[in-house]
Symmetry: D2
Subunit: 151 residues, 4 copies
């Protein structure tokens, strides 16, 4: 990962993200200004992180006794995107702690355009489904993160 030395978010490219998750946009994503509403970016981040974890770590979000909840999120928007453009979400883990994982995310549009449109930050904390108390990051997820993000 070329970003480990702290490249500015605006300069990130697809190559900085180990996982590339394709997503489609929706008519209703565009707001009155004709561009993707800012909250939609978080729906896409969530879908890429969890879609990749379900596929790679075989997490079953409906029955799992341990769930990943969001403790912090943030996004910086560099340029507008709009339906019907298909997008790609880049995902990488920047920190895997004892009970939490910090992800960095990038949203990319047209494959011909290497520039990142938005960069997100996401802290997921693992908790017991019933008590909602923090628990260690499950082994399957820890392994997937390690394997998936190896470069």
């Amino acid at each position: 990962m070329t970003n480990q030395d702290g490249a500015a978010p605006r300069d990130l490219t697809r190559a900085d993200f180990a996982v590339q998750w394709p997503v489609t946009t929706r008519w209703s994503d565009n707001d009155m200004f004709g561009h993707l509403n800012n909250a939609v970016y978080y729906e896409l981040f969530d879908s890429a992180i969890n879609g990749w974890l379900i596929e790679s770590a075989h997490v079953d979000e409906v029955t799992s006794g341990v769930i990943g909840v969001v403790a912090e999120s943030g996004c910086t928007y560099f340029r507008e995107l709009a339906f019907p453009e298909p997008l790609t979400v880049g995902v990488r883990a920047t920190r895997v702690g004892r009970t939490s994982v910090t992800f960095q995310l990038g949203i990319f549009g047209d494959p011909q355009n290497p520039a990142v449109a938005a960069v997100g930050r996401w802290v997921q904390v693992y908790v017991d489904r019933d008590t909602r108390r923090p628990v260690p990051v499950p082994d399957a997820i820890r392994s997937a993160l390690t394997a998936g993000f190896a470069c």
Copy 2:
């Protein structure tokens, strides 16, 4: 189109729809029951109809003086769908009137499964952007519908 003679909605297959529009699902589409919320199907119908029209009839929804608004919509749900499964929306026009178009839509999941998961009905009326009064279906859209839905 094999459905012109009135096949029951539950028996529709991909082959009944001239247009096939791929869409991805989102984490937030799943509700407390672990399946796609019923309102999401309408977001997908809207995206397939308008995405196809933008691509085929070169409609610019931000600036066009004529816009297509929904007068009626409906959906019958046959089986559950859930994130992260990617879906396909089948679209066909069942009636092209003077100022309105009626679409039939089908939602399909796994390509190996020919059965339709839900079938929608959608009446789009074309109106003047400023006066909101009905106007004739624009020629570009009428042509796209005729060409796109020929079998």
Copy 3:
């Protein structure tokens, strides 16, 4: 209920609905045409029906062994609505069957305006959470519907 004799949907007023459920609109509800996206109406129907059932029948949607899933839905749109206008959803049960309930819904805007903006139809089927097989409408819900919709 004055509508039992079959008044046209367009002529329904607040007085035709036994339950009045207030909802707020959101910036992101407005689409590129500056009005509430058609799918949002279904989110509001869902919120009014389930909000009222949670309050009246003390349903716990997270743990209940019986859940209500949507088998059919539909909406006819009579006039546009837009954020930031607060709305009211009128709800009434038009049929309480053995395993399903049919609701009629009306969306109203400004309290000074008696005209209904949109009318919905909604068929909710009760199923076992695990097997997803239809089961009788739970007694608490049946009682709430009977009591709540008495006029």
Copy 4:
């Protein structure tokens, strides 16, 4: 505003926010974990900021030549919220610059509970609708912010 000296976000109360904007939650806001999805908080922030500006500064988002777009957003989540609980969004401007405004937001649940459930940060940049180039914060908005947030 008692927060000007830099109280920790977790310690903010309703009294720290000059504007209190009521919002209702929706059935579809709850995700598979039975709580408000993290992206929904941003929809509520957006609705409170723009709802208040439309009401106070008489901004017409559909026709205005100057629009406010989001350059950065972020949220820290302190406790879970869930439909059908009605919420209040607290809003205050922490910085009014030449072309941008920074808002701090707080989400509150049950009026009996003074603790903030989530705290957001939001940077809105004013741009020309056509060129998308930054322009000075419109006078009507600057006045509303000054008047509305005076304590």
